[in-house]
């Protein structure tokens, strides 16, 4: 670089712009992706602050004639459901279910298992790699939805026993049942949620392992933990984020599908699946379209936003992924 350029402070700053900053600048230029991020931020905020935002109590029933299945009004923005509960509040609480579920699966499935096992397999290689990838291969070969159903259905029959026991013997009280159902869905989803992520992470780690700076760190006697966290992880992270965001709609969809089939989170706890199930049916839709539309539109936009974001990220990182292959 010539002295003239280096002397110019503006271009010096530009030359020093980190790849990360360049990445965010490119992302900001993609309007659809930005819209998706904004929508997701609102969705997650709604979920987290549901008790503050919801206009009514989502569990409060009103069975007086005329109060059930009302259309939208100024009192009930999205109308009421078959038990006279405020639908807007139930949709906001359904977002809460989705938010909690996606975060739990993200942390346990993608972060701990997906990233952890992927890094381990890619860096250590050998029999560790073979074992992890073979287990993944076996799990990936299973018909996922069928097994998720089998797992949830298998535990469903005795679920009340466990829930009542927890209710009586722990501090959980009324939340026990929801917690048990929730754990079952997580338990049914996580075994299948890590495979895709760990494959991406592994192939990336395999490539970075051979880089000079990793070899140098090894030569200086750095511990495996240090090499993985300090040298491999930063290189793996971008693709990990892409993989996770591309798979997020599917993860959230698993809970919605299971709840729709009556095997996931069940009423009175709100979930998009059970809300949609209550409004699904051509006759119901003819008479009470809001029962289907109120939960369907926000959750469809949620999936769409994750799809768009995943698509934009893949697009941005494409040159880099091809260079590394």
């Amino acid at each position: 670089m010539s002295a003239a350029v280096a002397a110019d402070p503006v271009s010096l700053e530009r030359a020093a712009a980190s790849p990360r900053r360049r990445f965010f600048r490119q992302l900001a230029r993609k309007k659809l992706a930005m819209l998706a991020i904004i929508y997701l931020a609102i969705f997650y905020a709604c979920g987290i602050f549901a008790p503050l935002i919801a206009p009514h109590d989502p569990y409060e029933q009103n069975l007086t004639p005329g109060a059930t299945r009302q259309g939208p009004s100024s009192e009930h923005w999205l109308g009421t459901d078959a038990l006279g509960r405020d639908l807007a509040s139930r949709v906001i609480y359904a977002a809460r279910t989705t938010v909690v579920f996606t975060v739990v699966v993200l942390v346990s499935g993608s972060l701990v298992l997906g990233l952890g096992l992927g890094l381990l397999a890619g860096y250590r290689g050998g029999w560790v790699d073979t074992l992890i990838m073979r287990v993944g291969e076996v799990l990936a070969g299973l018909p996922t939805l069928l097994l998720m159903l089998a797992i949830t259905a298998a535990f469903r029959t005795r679920i009340n026993d466990v829930a009542f026991w927890l209710q009586d013997n722990t501090f959980l009280g009324g939340d026990a049942r929801t917690l048990v159902k929730f754990s079952i869905i997580v338990f049914a989803t996580v075994p299948f949620a890590w495979i895709g992520t760990s494959r991406i992470v592994r192939s990336q780690a395999l490539a970075i392992r051979e880089e000079t700076y990793v070899l140098a760190a090894e030569a200086m006697g750095a511990s495996t933990w240090r090499i993985i966290t300090r040298h491999i992880l930063p290189g793996v992270l971008p693709l990990f984020v892409v993989g996770v965001s591309a798979g997020m709609a599917g993860t959230a969809g698993a809970e919605v599908t299971l709840s729709f089939l009556g095997l996931g989170i069940d009423p009175p706890t709100a979930s998009f699946g059970s809300l949609i199930a209550a409004g699904a049916g051509p006759q119901t839709f003819e008479r009470y379209p809001h029962l289907l539309l109120a939960p369907a539109i926000p959750v469809t936009l949620f999936f769409f936003a994750w799809n768009l974001l995943g698509d934009a990220l893949v697009d941005l990182l494409e040159p880099r992924t091809q260079a590394l292959r």
């Binding site: 659809l32 790699d129 073979t130 291969e137 076996v138 990936a140 070969g141 299973l142 018909p143 939805l145 069928l146 097994l147 159903l149 089998a150 797992i151 259905a153 298998a154 535990f155 469903r156 029959t157 005795r158 709609a249 969809g253 919605v256 599908t257 729709f260 089939l261 949609i276 199930a277 409004g279 699904a280 049916g281 051509p282 006759q283 119901t284 839709f285 003819e286 289907l292 369907a296 959750v299 469809t300 936009l301 999936f303 769409f304 799809n307 768009l308 698509d311 494409e318």
Partner: protein, 316 residues
């Protein structure tokens, strides 16, 4: 034939044996150890313990699990998939084979449609790169993909059957126009993935030297697109076709359930709820075999089409 292909196939098939063994053990133990019991669905909520014991004895559920497993495997190896606790006069194969046939035909029709749409959309988007039509096309299909099928189904059923009164909703076989809706809902969501894949692939090929050469020597754009770009760009689609095969024969649980289609998806839902041990096991093993076979097929096809790929080299 690529060199070493036969040996490669044999090795892959041999590897499938421990995989299937592992799957069968996991699922068998999971079903037997979980609190759900076929007796519950056979006798209802309240029953006398003696009755339950009789039924468990009849199906052998009273024996230790490893003995049940050995017995099951011995029958399986002789081609006997066991008995259903729900339909007592039928064997498992009598129940699932006709249903697989229904699901497979439906799935095949849907697959052809989604590939046709996806390839067209993908090539179109790639050629329109740089204009707003590219992101519009892809986003359109992503939006379709984002609508959960259990939202699309009641809406479309209402639109076509109640509002417009064009078709009926009951399942009347493959010749009735009622089949249009399930086919549509089976095929549209998969299109986004194919379109995105084709678009990326076409964009990759468009950078190749031979495309520039074709343009430079003055070939008409139509020939460049179809003969030089599309032909090479569509090759990697084999992976997607292969990967969607298990889904084709596996049926769609929700679609079959909501349209009342007597396919393998609806069957698996009922079997899981019962729970009907032997039917669930048969379905899981069937799904896994499909997956393994599809993966082997992909590799073989790749090797035949592109001789540069050395089989076995990419898998350590």
């Amino acid at each position: 034939m690529a060199p070493g292909l036969a040996g490669y196939i044999v090795r892959r098939l041999l590897w499938a044996i421990p995989v299937l063994f592992a799957i069968s053990v996991i699922v068998f133990y999971m079903l037997r150890l979980a609190p759900g019991d076929p007796v519950d669905s056979l006798l209802g909520q309240r029953y006398r313990e003696e009755e339950a014991a009789l039924i468990r004895k009849k199906y052998g559920y009273d024996q230790p699990i490893h003995i049940q497993y050995v017995k099951y495997m011995r029958h399986l190896l002789q081609g006997d998939l066991g008995v259903s606790t729900r339909h007592q006069s039928f064997t498992v194969s009598e129940i699932i084979l006709p249903k697989i046939w229904v699901s497979a035909r439906l799935g095949f029709i849907a697959l052809v449609i989604s590939f046709f749409l996806g390839i067209a959309a993908g090539i179109y988007a790639a050629l329109a790169r740089g204009t707003f039509l590219d992101p519009l096309t892809i986003s359109f299909w992503l939006a379709i993909d984002a609508v959960p099928i259990f939202v699309a189904i009641p809406f479309l059923q209402w639109l076509f059957a109640v509002k417009l009164d064009l078709i009926g909703l009951s399942w009347q076989g493959f010749t009735s126009p009622n089949i249009i809706l399930p086919i549509l809902i089976l095929s549209l969501p998969g299109t986004a993935g194919i379109a995105r894949f084709v678009r990326a692939s076409v964009l990759g090929v468009m950078k190749e030297d031979y495309v520039r050469t074709a343009r430079a020597k003055g070939l008409p754009e139509r020939i460049v697109v179809f003969r030089h770009i599309a032909r090479n760009a569509l090759l990697p689609l084999i992976t997607i076709i292969g990967l969607s095969l298990p889904g084709v024969a596996g049926g769609s649980l929700i679609i079959e359930q909501m349209f009342g289609i007597p396919g393998i998806g609806a069957e698996s839902f009922e079997a899981v709820l019962a729970p009907d041990f032997d039917v669930i096991l048969a379905l899981v093993l069937f799904g896994s075999v499909l997956f393994i076979v599809a993966n082997i097929l992909i590799d073989i096809l790749y090797a035949i089409i592109d001789p540069r790929i050395r089989l076995g080299a990419q898998r350590g």
